[in-house]
């Protein structure tokens, strides 16, 4: 048997008890990320992308919790680790980049402080060495005059620069997996591409695996190796970028790409599909996408278990697009 994948998520289920019953923002999600691989995760707002990322790094906000499934990192099971053991893995094994760089950094602490405290929390180095590494980390993400700006505060930087700092922070203890939750959504369009390519370059250099949550199909096509598509808490399609972007299999993916198969050219933002994603407490029976799906047939509305097993295991759909054409 060859070495285990960097990250392996198996049948992950996250539940939240609410006043109107228990909802499942993540339902039977399974995927893997190899070392050095970038997995793009797309889907409408509320599809459960962030919940999945938070579940992996062990930062689900109560009352959300993992009720079943397994998460393995380098072959070690990391869901339900004791709190202290999980804390040691955060930052060191799994780094996280958040959406809004304006709110991700502590406004009252100098950047250098935030970097060194992270390094010191995980690596057995002296304070002086930690400071050197902090400067090196800032240089690596392209902060000019890093040595002088180590004492600067977050508000002295622009949004794009701050997101570079956030990336430096997330990578400072050299994690093997990075979860980047919409790292460019809050940024100016002009700097989005720089940030994604920076993230891509750094992770490629270090062989870091990345779970890249984004709304931007352009980013997916330029950055990711494979794509996972989520809808209402479920994974509906998972395949290589080329496959998913040029010949989507699930009608929802196809809808996201703009109904026609050629997505990556020109059309960068996700296409609007008529109707709305159902609320979690109010999912239809059968396929959650069926009420909005133009291909839906009777079977889709029946209470049957869907698996990622059509289109060579790429999509969870009774009547996938590729197979209809065939």
């Amino acid at each position: 048997m060859n070495s285990p994948p960097l990250l392996s998520v198996r049948n992950l289920v996250v539940e939240i008890p609410t006043r109107h019953g228990v909802v499942r923002p993540v339902d039977q999600v399974s995927f893997e990320i190899q070392a050095g691989e970038i997995l793009g995760v797309v889907g409408e707002s509320g599809a459960g992308k962030s919940m999945t990322g938070n579940a992996i790094i062990g930062l689900l906000d109560r009352p959300a919790r993992i009720v079943s499934g397994e998460i393995f990192l380098n072959g070690d099971r990391i869901d339900h680790l004791p709190l202290a053991a999980m804390r040691k893995r955060r930052g060191k094994d799994i780094g996280m980049v958040f959406q809004d760089p304006l709110t991700s950094l502590n406004p009252l602490l100098p950047l250098g402080h935030q970097l060194t405290e992270t390094i010191l929390a995980h690596l057995p180095v002296s304070v002086i060495e930690a400071k050197k590494r902090a400067i090196a980390a800032l240089e690596e993400v392209g902060i000019p005059a890093a040595a002088e700006r180590i004492g600067a505060y977050p508000h002295e930087f622009s949004g794009g620069m701050r997101q570079r700092v956030v990336i430096a922070l997330a990578l400072s203890a050299e994690p093997s997996l990075v979860i980047a939750d919409e790292p460019t959504t809050a940024l100016d369009v002009s700097v989005q591409a720089q940030i994604t390519s920076l993230l891509k370059r750094l992770c490629r250099e270090r062989g870091t695996g990345v779970m890249l949550v984004t709304h931007d199909m352009g980013v997916i096509s330029e950055t990711a190796d494979r794509v996972a598509v989520m809808y209402a808490g479920r994974l509906v399609e998972l395949g290589s970028v080329r496959q998913v972007l040029t010949s989507p299999c699930h009608p929802y993916t196809s809808g996201l790409m703009g109904s026609t198969p050629l997505a990556s050219k020109g059309q960068k933002r996700l296409h609007q599909i008529p109707g709305m994603m159902p609320r979690l407490g109010n999912l239809p029976t059968g396929c959650a996408f069926s009420p909005r799906c133009t291909y839906a047939q009777d079977k889709c509305h029946q209470d049957l278990e869907l698996q990622l097993d059509t289109c060579d295991g790429r999509a969870a759909c009774w009547f996938p697009i590729g197979e209809q054409e065939a």
Partner: protein, 325 residues
């Protein structure tokens, strides 16, 4: 930033001028100073001499100006009751009040912040809920009742702590301190807790509310996601961010500790300026009352100024743009 500080100092001066005006008006127009100072057996010549000596025949503004100049020199006239300079009497009494206020201020700040952080971190714990419930009682009971309750429990029933006075004091230069004797320290406990309890509860509830808000922020999530220890997240990252609003309220509350000392000093017969003021009130000893008023307002203004400067120390964003916010 310098412009900001200058502006704040300027505001403070205006506040003091207004308070000075009130104190002066009281001094000059509540009762007749001549009456008060000469008593029943007086001649017309006496009255005229004193009127001229006190400058009471001069225009209002001139008198006010003189009053202020004297106040700045620490000269508040002579107490009607004791016949000694007011400044001297206050200098004798001030250490008692300042020591009491310092200890209860420290109590309010340290215990308030500590319990606030604790109840925020253990939001749903039994201990937190108990503390929050007790604090509601603490806020709603009046100070004098708490004082009497403390005296009843700890002095009368348990006989652990003294119920009145400062205990033994030691004279250090012009300052009489209760910090250096055991009885002096024991005597401080009940009054300072009584005096600081309300402020402590307020600070605790405020710290808790701010802390809960801050703990929801992205940078706290990010700090956790970087694997920092809970202690570092709670104290280095979260607590510091709660301090700016907390300092505002704390500053104001410290001012009111000194003002509320009147009640506590009365309940515990604490020989400070508060008790002095109460006694002055009974005898309509106007110079003492005016001086007390000025003193309290100077403290309020000074505390406010310090609070404003603390903002700069804590929040780097203010240092750069110098905005007043």
């Amino acid at each position: 930033m310098i412009a900001y500080v200058i502006r704040r100092v300027f505001h403070s001066m205006i506040v003091l001028l207004v308070v000075g005006l009130v104190a002066f008006a009281m001094f000059r127009y509540v009762g007749d100073p001549i009456d008060n100072m000469l008593g029943q057996e007086r001649t017309q010549a006496d009255i005229e001499r004193l009127t001229e000596q006190l400058g009471l025949d001069q225009p209002f503004v001139v008198q006010y100006w003189k009053f202020l100049r004297n106040a700045v020199d620490g000269n508040f006239g002579v107490s009607y009751r004791q016949g000694r300079p007011v400044a001297e009497i206050i200098a004798e009494r001030a250490p008692a009040t300042l020591e009491l206020a310092t200890v209860s201020g420290l109590f309010a700040i340290l215990v308030g912040i500590g319990l606030g952080v604790f109840t925020a971190i253990r939001r749903n714990g039994v201990a937190s809920n108990l503390i929050m419930t007790l604090s509601l009682i603490g806020v709603s009971l009046p100070t004098f009742l708490i004082g009497i309750l403390f005296i009843y429990v700890f002095s009368v029933e348990l006989d652990l702590l003294p119920s009145f006075g400062r205990g033994d004091v030691v004279q250090v230069g012009n300052w009489s301190t209760g910090f250096l004797t055991k009885s002096g320290l024991l005597a401080l406990i009940l009054p300072s807790i009584t005096l600081g309890l309300y402020q402590m509860t307020l600070i605790m509830r405020l710290v808790r509310a701010e802390m809960l808000e801050v703990l929801r922020q992205d940078y706290i999530r990010f700090a956790r996601a970087r694997g920092l220890r809970e202690r570092a997240v709670n104290f280095r990252h979260a607590l510091k961010n709660t301090l700016v609003p907390v300092i505002t309220v704390t500053g104001l509350q410290l001012g009111s500790i000194i003002a509320f000392a009147i009640i506590t000093e009365t309940v515990f017969q604490w020989p400070g300026v508060g008790l002095l003021f109460i006694n002055a009130l009974q005898f309509v000893d106007i110079p003492v009352m005016a001086a007390y008023l000025m003193l309290i307002s100077v403290m309020f203004v000074a505390i406010n100024l310090i609070v404003d400067l603390l903002y700069f120390a804590i929040d780097p964003r203010l240092r750069i743009d110098g905005r007043t916010g």
